[in-house]
């Protein structure tokens, strides 16, 4: 285990002791690594072919497209950075990015706190543990479109079950999906409901790798439960948290199907996410602008992700 950093290929050369000094090894050494040198290329080939055709090629195509005014037919004209300039000065781009930003704020911090809390509790209890784990994964396995449909019916202003419950305790009905103020929180709730279980599992796997002895040592030193959580659990969960943080940030900024099915981006444009805005360019055959929008979104998402990676690394 200690020689982990040495790759298998170099290891062969570095361990002459294993092969006693005979005349033969020289030849065998040559033929053995050759097969081993070729093997990885054979293994990655099927993947690389599909990946080149349906991921890398379209990626470069989009990059080129983003500098043209192409609308899906006829000739494409090279227009330089005009699409980018247009988007960066248009209110539509910024307001949809803002919508995604607000959704991020509504979703991700709450989700991280909730996931750590639930994972720590699940790790501490013994009874009913399996039952809770199953319950937390149920939303994750339900199809998004089905959840979106359930949300439409549940949160209907006039006939929905949620307003019926509010009415039962004497509260006035809320226009969950039809008012600009409530549409975002209602969508955020859908997202939280759908994905928190997955984050719980990721955090749980991080928790299971923490050495129990650390807690025993800490409690001998008189550290309370909260102190242990803050000084041992959270720092050691850093990798899991970073992983989930980046994953969920990507997901929130790419959010498309939820607003597409539930609110169609409305009321007005209050739930038009960055992802949905991108889709709208495509449906209007405004392909050059759509492509440019894609890359601006990638830049934003990468910047945010790298920021998290940096922030969490900085604490080392």
């Amino acid at each position: 285990m200690t020689t982990r950093s040495v790759s298998p290929a170099t290891k062969v050369f570095r361990e002459p002791a294993v092969e006693p000094r005979t005349r033969a090894p020289r030849q065998r050494r040559r033929t053995l690594p050759l097969r081993r040198l070729l093997a990885p290329y054979v293994f990655v080939l099927p993947f690389v072919l599909v990946f080149l055709a349906f991921s890398v090629y379209p990626l470069f195509f989009t990059l080129r497209l983003s500098f043209t005014d192409w609308h899906g037919s006829g000739a494409a004209h090279w227009i330089g950075f005009d699409n980018y300039r247009y988007l960066l000065t248009s209110s539509g781009f910024w307001s949809t990015l803002g919508n995604s930003g607000v959704l991020w704020l509504l979703i991700v911090p709450a989700q991280m706190v909730l996931a750590v809390l639930v994972a720590v509790l699940l790790n501490a209890i013994k009874r009913l543990r399996g039952f809770y784990r199953v319950a937390f994964v149920v939303p994750f396995v339900t199809p998004l479109v089905a959840v979106a449909q359930i949300w439409i019916v549940l949160f209907d202003q006039d006939n929905g079950a949620v307003n019926a419950m509010l009415g039962a305790v004497g509260l006035p009905p809320v226009g969950w999906l039809v008012t600009s103020g409530w549409a975002k929180p209602t969508l955020a709730l859908l997202f939280l409901w759908k994905t928190t279980g997955f984050v719980v599992l990721i955090v749980l796997s991080g928790l299971q790798q923490i050495d129990r002895g650390l807690y025993e040592a800490a409690s001998l030193d008189g550290a309370g439960r909260m102190r242990q959580l803050w000084s041992i659990t959270v720092p050691l969960l850093r990798r899991s948290l970073m992983f989930s943080l980046v994953l969920q940030t990507l997901a929130v900024f790419q959010m498309f199907a939820e607003p597409y099915v539930v609110t169609k981006g409305g009321p007005y444009t209050s739930t038009t996410t960055a992802g949905l805005y991108l889709y709208n360019h495509i449906t209007r055959a405004d392909l050059g602008t759509g492509a440019a929008n894609s890359f601006l979104l990638v830049i934003v998402v990468m910047a945010v992700s790298l920021l998290f990676v940096r922030l969490l690394r900085a604490e080392d």
Binding site: R4, P8, V44, V48, Y57, V145, A146
Partner: protein
């Protein structure tokens, strides 16, 4: 020590934990349970009395209406075909490539893996425009190829499997080599058995992703003949949210819930049967400390 009261206080937080977890569990299960129960209610009752359930009024009318209004049968069939073909490609290509990335050094490894990570960061929709154009070029619009091939080996599957395979000790591989095992033999006889939980996790994740996929099928398979289950479902939802003052509002609502219930049941069953593998698979694939 006991004087500090630490031992005596212990049962209390546990009780609190259970209360907290139970409340969350109810909140998580409620929408699904509510949708399934409501789909068996007369359409008018779902609207008039959304909270109650009277077993005496049990009806299959919503399901009958839904089967008449949308081609849900062909939706299931299309999803099934795509699921088998795309799932097979993913399960064959991803672990093998991930094994090469995790355990071999070769020229171009970092370049290829870097590209994989880059596409992991790309919004899925970024590739929709060029992929659609590519499909048009190939004459694949509204074909199974179009639904199956793009995304059949996505960046996430590679990334996930590499995590899993990296945890297999190198000593195990070297021991197999000493025993005269070929390079592919090592993958097949040593690595695959060692990563079974991770493979199961990938399998269930893949099935879920394909079953739930929505964005690409909406674009690539716009004809109703090729529509997958999720696309069929979304057209129902369009009826209801697009036209709020529909005279048949109650009927559409009932059919919507019937459709949602029928769509979530197969995966729920699959998950409940395979839950142990699924959860262990995710635990195996997540980041190692």
């Amino acid at each position: 020590m006991t004087a500090l009261g630490v031992r005596q206080r212990k049962p209390r937080p546990l009780l609190g934990s259970h209360a907290f977890l139970l409340v969350l569990t109810v909140a998580l299960l409620a929408p699904v349970v509510w949708a399934i129960l409501s789909s068996f209610k007369p359409a008018g009752e779902i609207i008039r009395n959304p909270l109650g359930f009277d077993p005496a009024t049990f009806t299959l009318a919503n399901f009958r209406g839904m089967f008449q209004d949308v081609p849900i049968g062909s939706g299931f069939l299309n999803t099934g075909i795509v699921l088998v073909a795309k799932g097979a490609i993913t399960m064959l290509c991803a672990p093998l490539a991930a094994y090469a990335f995790a355990k071999y050094r070769f020229a171009g490894r970092n370049l290829i893996f870097g590209t994989v990570l880059l596409t992991l960061m790309l919004p899925t929709i970024v590739l929709v425009i060029p992929l659609l154009l590519e499909m048009k070029e190939l004459g694949w619009v509204n074909t199974y190829q179009a639904l199956i091939l793009p995304g059949s080996v996505d960046a996430f599957a590679i990334f996930w499997m590499r995590q899993v395979i990296a945890a297999v000790p190198d000593e195990l591989l070297d021991a197999a080599r000493v025993d005269g095992c070929g390079e592919f033999g090592i993958f097949w006889r040593v690595v695959v058995p060692a990563i079974r939980p991770g493979l199961a996790g990938l399998g269930v994740l893949t099935i879920m992703n394909i079953y739930n996929d929505f964005v690409w099928p909406v674009v690539a398979a716009s004809s109703s003949r090729m529509a997958t289950l999720q696309v069929v479902l979304s057209t129902l939802a369009q009826n209801i949210s697009g036209n709020r003052v529909d005279a048949d509002y109650a009927t559409v609502t009932g059919e919507l819930l019937a459709a949602a219930s029928i769509a979530l049941v197969p995966l729920l069953i699959l998950f409940i049967v395979l839950q142990k593998h699924f959860i262990n698979g995710i635990l195996a694939g997540s980041v190692k400390g």
